[in-house]
């Protein structure tokens, strides 16, 4: 899917440029894009290193585990098919916390771990279990309190107030997450009948 979209965008762009007689633009765009990619990545390296460093301290100090315990009652309600002492809850909560703190790439390792735990409890190994779909729905639409990455991008672009979008982000992601939870439980109930 992504392959096709990537290809179509590239080919369409080149064809349109050829039709407009601005074929030189293609070369310039491609080279500029490659440079921009590196610039963005370097900006990110600092932010990611900082956050994951701090997260690692929190993990080692047991802060993350306390957070898991604190969040467990609310999270449990979202996963009715899991046992209360399921080993999947730890990584699920860590993943959601990483998403809440806007650490998208830090969330991925926890997400993969959570999936492995959920797969152990899955009765049909090639089909997504309801708990997996709930986890995925939460993951793709998680409420974000500190969108760290985009704040870094805004700083780099010289924003007068890089953090001003935090409020709007919390609202938008909150709406998306509510929609995901409602849609997930709706489909889950419909499939049961």
């Amino acid at each position: 899917m992504v392959n096709l979209i990537w290809l179509i965008m590239l080919l369409c762009g080149i064809l349109v440029a050829a039709a407009n007689g601005t074929i030189d633009q293609v070369t310039e765009s491609a080279l500029n894009a490659a440079e921009l990619g590196i610039e963005v990545a370097i900006q990110l390296m600092g932010v990611m290193a900082l956050w994951l460093g701090i997260m690692h301290i929190a993990e080692k100090a047991g802060l993350i585990q306390s957070l898991s315990k604190f969040c467990a009652p609310a999270v449990r309600r979202l996963f009715p098919s899991l046992k209360a002492d399921s080993p999947a809850f730890g990584p699920i909560i860590m993943n959601l916390c990483a998403n809440i703190l806007g650490l998208g790439n830090a969330a991925t390792p926890f997400g993969l771990k959570a999936m492995q735990e959920l797969q152990k409890e899955n009765t049909e190994p090639d089909t997504a279990s309801p708990a997996m779909i709930t986890f995925l729905a939460l993951n793709t639409s998680c409420i974000t309190i500190i969108p760290a990455t985009i704040i870094a991008v805004r700083m780099k672009a010289g924003s007068a107030n890089p953090v001003e979008i935090i409020g709007t982000t919390i609202f938008a992601t909150g709406c998306a997450m509510t929609a995901a939870i409602i849609a997930d439980s709706f489909f889950r109930r419909r499939k049961k009948r």
């Binding site: 979209i5 998208g104 790439n105 797969q119 639409s141 500190i146 007068a160 409020g167 509510t178 995901a180």
Partner: protein, 179 residues
Amino acid sequence: MSFVTEIARWAIPFILFFVPLYGYLHKVPVYETFVEGAENGFKTAVRIIPFLIGMLVSIKVFTESGALELIINFLRPAFMALGFDPSLLNIVPLALMRPLSGSGALGVATQLITQYGPDSFIGRLASTLQGSTDTTFFVLAVYFGSVGIKKYRYALKVGLLADAVGLIASIWIVTKVFG
């Protein structure tokens, strides 16, 4: 909204103050531990470079050639008929990219923010849209792929629905707050 901005101002300094102190009180070798974690963060940032460049090249060629203009012009009458502000059309590439690829969406968002300025309406809208990090297709492919799930059932439907709600909510709130 100023209350939220105030929280945002204090949130990061608070975390930087509290977490290392808490770690130290719990006998964690804070500096070494920080370095370990930071190395991981650095590696992840390096790992996404190919994705970032790949996406940015395709996107830049597509948008700067005028191909996106064509699509936007094609959509404009429909937008006007529905009573939307036509400037919203500039967000179309990001809205299309967001469910597909996190790094791709970051590329588009970066491009929009640098092109229109971070404090423009489009810049703020792009920032808000980009705020939620994980992307439906990526998470589906990677997470389900990693454990060998082939039948996704209703997972994609739920994910895309949430994305659509997020898009509408972003547009509404940014218009409301920043006008």
